[in-house]
């Protein structure tokens, strides 16, 4: 972003990579898949690179409003320096906080989750998938809480997945009834409280019951939890966990 700005350019979109997208080894692949799609589309975008910092969501969900607001005001300042108006992100938690909570601190942006962006590109005819790589596959989609219940977005990821023409199946609890992966609300960063089961095991079992061979996710935390769940259930060979961006990138042959 800094480079483009120095040249006097204002990219249309800021792609907010997010901490998981930048550091998590598995989720970095999603970031890479998504930027390949952006390159394929010729989207006018930029990333903040090393100027990006945590937008404060995990701190906020763990009750540390002070730390959240310090991060947020810092991010808002960076974004206003670059006159950012539109943000795309692969992380529903980042999506939610930018869309719903930054306005309270003076940060107003048009925010899109990558599922919404991809859907828009398909709807506008800018993306087309002709390949049949997924034709013999069955995909089930796990709703991220902060996309689904949090922001009533159930259809975009499903519309996007439908473009690869795989067989789609739903889990018993889906859309607004969807079961959390167990990582929201800063649970990602701590062990779960004592109980008789891990939430991700419960959800993974439900995903396996569908008989799907691909569990699609659209959130870095869901991905960590469900990938762990598949390993725990020793199903990681037969059933794969992909982000919707990876599915589309593969469908496009990227």
């Amino acid at each position: 972003m800094a480079n483009l700005h120095a040249e006097g350019k204002k990219p249309e979109y800021l792609f907010w990579v997010g901490c998981a997208g930048a550091y998590d080894d598995r989720y970095k692949k999603v970031t890479q898949a998504f930027v390949k799609i952006l390159a394929h589309l010729g989207t006018d975008y930029a990333v903040l690179g090393t100027e990006e910092t945590c937008n404060g969501d995990p701190a906020r969900r763990a009750g540390n409003e002070m730390l959240y607001q310090m991060q947020a005001l810092q991010v808002i300042e960076t974004l206003s320096n670059y006159e950012v108006k539109k943000i795309i992100t692969c992380c529903p938690h980042c999506f939610n906080i930018f869309k719903n909570e930054y306005p309270d601190l003076g940060g107003h942006y048009e925010v899109m989750h990558h599922s919404q962006f991809l859907r828009k590109m398909f709807d506008e005819g800018k993306l087309n998938i002709d390949s049949n790589v997924f034709e013999d596959k069955t995909i089930t989609f796990h709703d991220p809480c902060y996309l689904g219940r949090g922001n009533n977005e159930y259809e975009s990821p499903r519309e996007v997945i439908a473009r690869v023409r795989a067989k789609n199946v739903e889990m018993a609890r889906n859309k607004s009834f969807g079961l959390c992966c167990g990582a929201g609300g800063a649970q990602m960063f701590k062990e779960a409280e004592p109980g008789n089961k891990e939430v991700y095991t419960e959800r993974t079992e439900e995903a396996l019951e569908t008989g799907a061979n691909i569990v699609a996710t659209a959130c870095p935390f869901c991905m960590t939890m469900l990938t762990d769940g598949l390993k725990y259930k020793e199903k990681e060979e037969e059933v794969k966990n992909f982000d919707i961006a990876e599915i589309i990138a593969r469908g496009l042959g990227l």
Binding site: G63, N64, E65, R149, N151, C180, E202
Partner: protein
């Protein structure tokens, strides 16, 4: 005339006791904190029609949801008839709203049919509670009283419907005969009448009507005064609670403006500090006790019917953790009841050495929440549990620095290197280099 007098006295006693009870509950609102301004009346009316009158959220559980919806709609229609009874009782008239003509026929006819539907509904509800082993009706937060509570309320409703039908049957038989000179239409009662009054003479029929009329109106008075002491208070509170819902998406968490002030002060220290310091004295970050919660939290607590749909869908609860969203809400109600009288006497400085966190809700429960909003999504009357849970976390994290150790590590990481994990900010673009490496 004597009948009127007795009725008026009973009515006044009922209203007196009722307003006393309500005022006792309502006066605690003054100890609560602001939540949000009540704007956007149009959207609120819409939400009330959708969620309250439309019963859309309770219908997410289709079978019991439908029965509840029928009972609810029945109550609304039947209440119009009850109002007529009050007017009749005071004025010494009989079926005075009959002047409304066809409209009256529709209302009273629907009420008569609904009486039967509600009757069947509560029998099913009672059967479920007494004979079926339903997970939702159990839980550590449900004491014995709340079970009796439900059964007493359902029994009262049962008797209300029996007496309503009894009264209608008596009425049509009194005025029936060949001429059929009664006001209104009574499809169910007319069908039942021959079976009930087959060999009764006119005076017996008259008695049947009197007994049921009085039984019905007295049961209404008793019911209204039992409700505020039971979880069935929702009969009064749920519609206002829906009207006063938070309208933002569930993912939204309200901003803490007092924190914003402090943060801005830290970033910009030359700002006028004196006036800030004055205002901030009493404010505590987050919720430790009942009086730290907002009026909306307290209204939620008063409106909760303890149906347990929230707990039934809570991922933490499903997997055996201690957290139960229903308990969070009922604990707030219990704590306000416990501490409220003291607050009234001694003001906000009052302390009984107890608090909502720890004496009612453990830290373990609070940290088990994934903020997935399944509870809030499910609540038939739009109670929002996660905001209250988060406000309690805010107290723990900011006032006591009492977050779990791993969470504190996460905070430190964000402070030091701008990410919840311990990675260097310099490495933020490594993913991009790896693309070229893989290519």
């Amino acid at each position: 005339m004597t009948k009127q007098l007795i009725f008026i006295i009973v009515l006044l006693i009922t209203l007196g006791v009722f307003s006393y009870t309500i005022s006792r509950l309502v006066r605690y609102f003054r100890y609560t904190k602001p939540a949000f301004p009540i704007r956007n009346i149009g959207a609120r009316v819409k939400e009330t029609f959708r969620v309250a009158f439309g019963q859309t959220k309770i219908l997410r559980w289709p079978f019991v949801g439908l029965i509840h919806a029928l009972v609810f709609w029945g109550f609304i229609v039947i209440t119009i008839g009850s109002l007529e009874m009050v007017i009749d009782g005071v004025a010494g008239t009989e079926r005075i709203l009959g002047v409304l003509g066809p409209f009256y026929d529709v209302i009273i006819g629907a009420g008569d049919i609904f009486a039967m539907i509600v009757l069947i509904g509560v029998v099913i509800f009672l059967g479920r509670r007494l004979f079926l082993n339903i997970g939702r009706f159990k839980g550590i937060e449900l004491k014995k009283e709340s079970k009796y509570d439900a059964n007493i309320a359902l029994t009262l409703i049962f008797l209300l419907m029996v007496s309503l039908l009894g009264m209608n049957i008596g009425y049509i038989e009194m005025h029936g005969g060949a001429e059929q000179q009664f006001t209104g239409v009574y499809p169910i009662s007319e069908w039942l009448a021959p079976m009930i009054t087959g060999n009764m003479d006119q005076s017996a029929i008259h008695q049947l009507h009197e007994v049921n009329w009085w039984a019905h109106i007295l049961l209404i008075f008793i019911f209204a005064n039992v409700l505020p002491y039971s979880k069935h208070f929702h009969v009064f509170t749920s519609v206002p609670n829906v009207f006063l819902s938070r309208l933002e998406p569930l993912g939204y968490l309200p901003n803490m403006d007092n924190v914003t002030k402090e943060v801005k002060l830290m970033m910009n220290p030359e700002q006028d500090m004196e006036q800030e310091a004055e205002e901030e004295q009493s404010a505590r970050f987050g919720v430790l006790d009942a009086e730290d919660s907002s009026w909306k939290n307290y209204l939620d607590a008063l409106a909760c019917t303890e149906c347990g749909r929230c707990t039934a869908v809570c991922p933490a609860n499903i997997t055996g953790k201690k957290l139960s969203p229903r308990k969070i809400v009922t604990d707030l109600r219990a704590r306000m009841k416990e501490k409220g009288p003291g607050l009234r006497k001694e003001g906000l400085d009052y302390s009984d050495g107890r608090s909502l966190i720890r004496d009612f809700i453990s830290e373990e429960e609070l940290w088990a929440c994934t903020t997935c909003n399944a509870c809030a999504q499910e609540c038939p009357i739009n109670i929002n549990h996660p905001t209250l849970i988060l406000d309690m976390r805010r107290y723990l994290a900011m006032e006591e620095a009492a977050a779990p150790a791993e969470i504190n590590t996460m905070f430190t990481n964000i402070e030091n290197n701008g990410a919840p994990w311990q990675y260097s900010p310099e490495d933020r673009m490594n993913w991009a280099e790896e693309i070229y490496m893989n290519a």
